[in-house]
């Protein structure tokens, strides 16, 4: 059996401009494109639609060919053995979550507005998403307040998430991921928030990509930052 350490690199980076559908039917594609555009909307900056989050999601949901990019971004790793089996089972569940979720979006849209989700206005779509999520649309962050939460694991994994939570997480992932996965088209979404990300994954492997200019700028003296150092002489 091919060891995980020896997984082959196959395929090539996802083309964000592709209209080819590997998983979604046309109506599903249009529905997800519209829904993700409400999760991260377009304003004076690009949103999920321009990021091609729908392409990212279509490839991810298509099976196990787009799970892990090769380290240098030249293609994708070909999973083997128990890892392949585990991912196949997981993606089968996630495919079902999406297929059923899209039907739920349409049935909520039919109930409330007598039309399919894609045919609704943006504010009507928001109303449907509120119904789907079971709570009101989040309001803006306010400064001057403090809101406590409880601890959590690092890195959110999507296994077992309900449709709405998965959709929010995946939209975020498709918006900000390395473009090899099909989203974050031309890295413009990193520009939206001011993240000067690498041009390619390969640049993060060989010293090409350097971020030290974003560390503290200018001179510094450890004896001033840590006055105790001066005291010990």
């Amino acid at each position: 059996m091919t060891l995980k350490a020896d997984w082959e690199i196959v395929g090539s980076p996802v083309d964000p401009d592709s209209d080819e559908r590997l998983f979604f039917a046309d109506h599903e594609w249009d529905t997800i494109e519209a829904a993700t555009a409400r999760i991260i909307p377009t304003d004076h900056d690009p949103g999920a639609r321009e990021a091609r989050v729908v392409v990212f999601l279509d490839r991810y949901l298509s099976g196990i060919d787009y799970i892990f990019a090769a380290a240098d971004g030249s293609g994708f790793l070909k999973l083997t053995g128990k890892f392949a089996d585990a991912w196949r089972a997981r993606m089968s569940d996630m495919q079902r979550t999406y297929r059923e979720g899209i039907r739920t979006l349409d049935s909520l849209a039919q109930e409330q507005f007598d039309r399919q989700f894609v045919a609704l206005s943006e504010s009507e779509q928001d109303t449907v998403l509120e119904a789907l999520s079971g709570s009101v649309k989040p309001g803006p962050v306010t400064l001057g307040t403090s809101e406590a939460v409880q601890t959590f694991l690092q890195g959110v994994f999507d296994q077992g998430l309900p449709f709405f939570e998965a959709l929010c997480l995946h939209t975020r992932q498709g918006f900000y991921c390395d473009p090899v996965y099909g989203g974050n088209r031309n890295r413009v979404d990193w520009d939206v928030i001011g993240f000067p990300g690498p041009t390619t994954l390969k640049d993060t492997m060989d010293g090409t990509y350097n971020t030290t200019e974003f560390f503290h700028v200018g001179g510094y003296d450890w004896n001033e930052l840590v006055p105790h150092l001066g005291k010990v002489g």
Binding site: L3, K4, A5, R38, I39, I40, P41, D43, A69, A71, K82, F83, A86, W87, L129, S133, K137, P138, G139, P140, V141, L143, S146, E147, A148, V149, Q150, T151, F152, L153, Q154, F157, Q159, C168, F175, D178, Y181, D189, W190, V192, I193, G194, F195, G197, P198, L201, K202, T204, M205, G207, Y209, N210, T211, F214, F215, H216, W222, L225, H228, L229
Partner: protein, 555 residues
């Protein structure tokens, strides 16, 4: 890769090749022992397999255990059925947690070895002194700092106990959020200092630390900046010619002979074939959860309750160090960007709030540190709006205007907080998985509240316009720190290991990971664990393998 049904016996087997197992493999093989090392995970190539791919490393478990293959279960009381939860998901691969770690490597304090002497009985807890003291570990802390490669400034930590030597490498330049932390500390009269970091910043031991990407915490490092046993101690062990590494090979049992001594292990090779490997000594370094699990799975007529478990204490008194913290958001109208994603995760920290202060109403304390808020998909803003314009605005306004300060919770040992075998859930090899039963001690909750509030106070002094405190409610294992499941001590009826981390029951079985910790300490444990693994390995080569034994007497 198919071995003969029964490869020839060797001097030593090391199971688990992370921080501590790799240390043992290096020390044992350099001393001339013939060693076979096992890891259930892959033997990756850092320079070929690691890069700054957030989705792959932080969201899709490329390094973290796949929860379907390696499940764990968790419950918060004695009566509930445990649910599947990826508790304390330390990466399982050659190098273990040193592949993905941020690499905080502070030294423990003298008080960490004396919790029982200092505090007596704490209701509901099982405080214990260590059977060794700081002075027994100090030479090995120095060895690890120099051989593994640690950056820091000796003398900067006002509260550090005696050290015999400085650091081999200087710290990175401060980050912007680190500078804020130092400034706030100086305003408050707090001793901020650069947290010792498991990385080198120059060519120590021929390493090329070219990685300046800021893809650090949770990512593999393609350069040799990060101190990772995959790129340091493992190749050093291989270079001796005495060490053979069998990766993607899952040890399912430690076997014992009629005389009650360990004879070797049974493992499942990558093709699913069961193989027996014999050795004179078996060393476990799987981490406190998996080492306990392997001992509990290794039942025999001599040890019906699990290997080395005549005390019944294997798996008990588990401690996990939840990471509790506060995030501060800064107002972009009045502040300069903090670029919280930049830097190699940690920057300044302090031991100012580490020792017990009775006025706080609880015992113990924590190391705290300012650290990265990380990358775009997962940047740390708990309570961030989940969708819509508010989400987009929050990312746009605060991604570069946030910082966090957090504490490693010094959680108390409680006997009923434990690891055992889940009665129903099996892993992909059909074996029972580790079940965690954990309820925080009241001292843990009180300490978490006090420390996080102090984190928030420092953030406010640093200029934060909003703080989000993240308190302990229930353990998630979010630090991947694991300790206590095979405590060391002098009494074989209440502890599992002696002061050399040698099983009281099985004299050729040693455990070199955090299982041996009688108490969790309030520092990141890896430096202490590796120093201890070195100390124990040296005992194996210099004393045990010569047919002698020695004992340490502490006051």
């Amino acid at each position: 890769m198919r071995h003969a049904k029964k490869p020839g016996p060797v001097d030593a087997i090391v199971v688990g090749l992370g921080a501590t197992g790799a240390t043992a493999a290096k020390v044992l093989s350099e001393a001339g022992l013939k060693v076979v090392g096992f890891d259930r995970g892959p033997w990756l190539s850092a320079k070929d397999h690691y890069s700054g791919d957030e989705l792959k490393f932080v969201n899709r478990n490329y390094l973290w255990p796949d929860p379907n293959l390696f499940p764990r279960t968790l419950r918060h009381d004695e009566v509930s059925e445990a649910e599947r939860f990826p508790f304390s998901p330390t990466p399982q691969l050659v190098g273990g947690g040193t592949n993905h770690w941020a690499g905080w490597v502070p030294r423990p304090r003298e008080s960490d070895f004396l919790q029982r002497s200092l505090h007596g009985d704490l209701d509901g807890a099982s405080l214990a002194d260590w059977p060794i003291r700081y002075e027994h570990l100090e030479p090995y802390l120095t060895k690890v700092e120099w051989e593994f490669g640690i950056s820091g400034i000796a003398g900067a930590d006002k509260y550090e106990p005696f050290r015999s030597k400085g650091y081999p490498s200087a710290p990175l330049r401060p980050t912007k959020f680190g500078k804020r932390f130092y400034d706030a500390c100086n305003t408050m009269g707090v001793n901020g200092f650069p947290i010792p970091h498991a990385m080198v910043t120059h060519d120590h031991k021929g390493r090329d630390p070219f990685n300046t990407t800021s893809f650090w915490n949770q990512y593999g490092d393609p350069s040799t900046a990060r101190s990772n046993t995959l790129t340091t101690f493992i190749p050093e062990a291989v270079a001796t010619g005495n060490f053979e590494l069998r990766s993607e090979s899952f040890v399912r049992e430690v076997t014992v002979g009629k005389d009650g001594r360990a004879t070797g292990v049974v493992y499942v090779d990558p093709d699913g074939v069961e193989v027996v490997q014999e050795a004179k000594v078996v060393v476990l370094g799987l981490g406190a959860i998996e080492s306990a699990r392997l001992m509990l799975m290794s039942t025999s007529p001599q040890f019906p309750d699990g290997l080395g478990n005549s005390s019944g204490m294997v798996g008990k008194n588990a401690t996990f160090h939840e990471y509790v913290f506060a995030v501060g958001l800064f107002d972009q109208e009045i502040d300069d960007p903090l670029h919280g994603w930049a830097g190699n995760y940690i920057s300044g920290g302090t031991f100012e709030f580490y020792e017990t202060d009775e006025d706080r109403g609880h015992i113990g304390g924590c190391l705290i540190s300012a650290s990265q808020t990380c990358h775009p998909i997962n940047w740390v803003f708990p309570g961030r709006p989940s969708w819509g314009q508010a989400l987009k605005d929050a990312d746009r306004s605060y991604f570069n205007f946030a910082m966090k300060i957090g504490a490693i919770l010094h959680d108390m040992p409680v006997e009923s907080n434990r690891v055992d075998l889940d009665p129903t859930v099996k892993d992909a090899w059909g074996l029972p998985v580790a079940r965690i039963t954990h309820k925080p001690h009241v001292n843990d909750v009180a300490m978490s509240k006090w420390q996080v509030d102090k984190n928030a106070e420092i953030l406010q002094v640093a200029g934060a316009s909003k703080t989000v405190p993240v308190y302990l409610d229930r353990m998630t294992g979010n630090t991947c720190h694991q300790h206590g499941t095979a405590r060391m001590g002098t009494d074989p009826t209440t502890t599992v290991l002696n002061e050399w981390c040698q099983s009281h029951d099985v004299e050729n079985l040693f455990i070199v990971d955090g299982s041996c910790f009688p108490s969790s300490t309030g520092v990141n444990p890896t430096l202490t664990m590796m120093a201890n693994a070195w100390r124990v390995s040296e005992y194996i080569t210099d004393v045990w393998s010569k047919g002698r034994d020695e004992h340490i007497t502490v006051a």
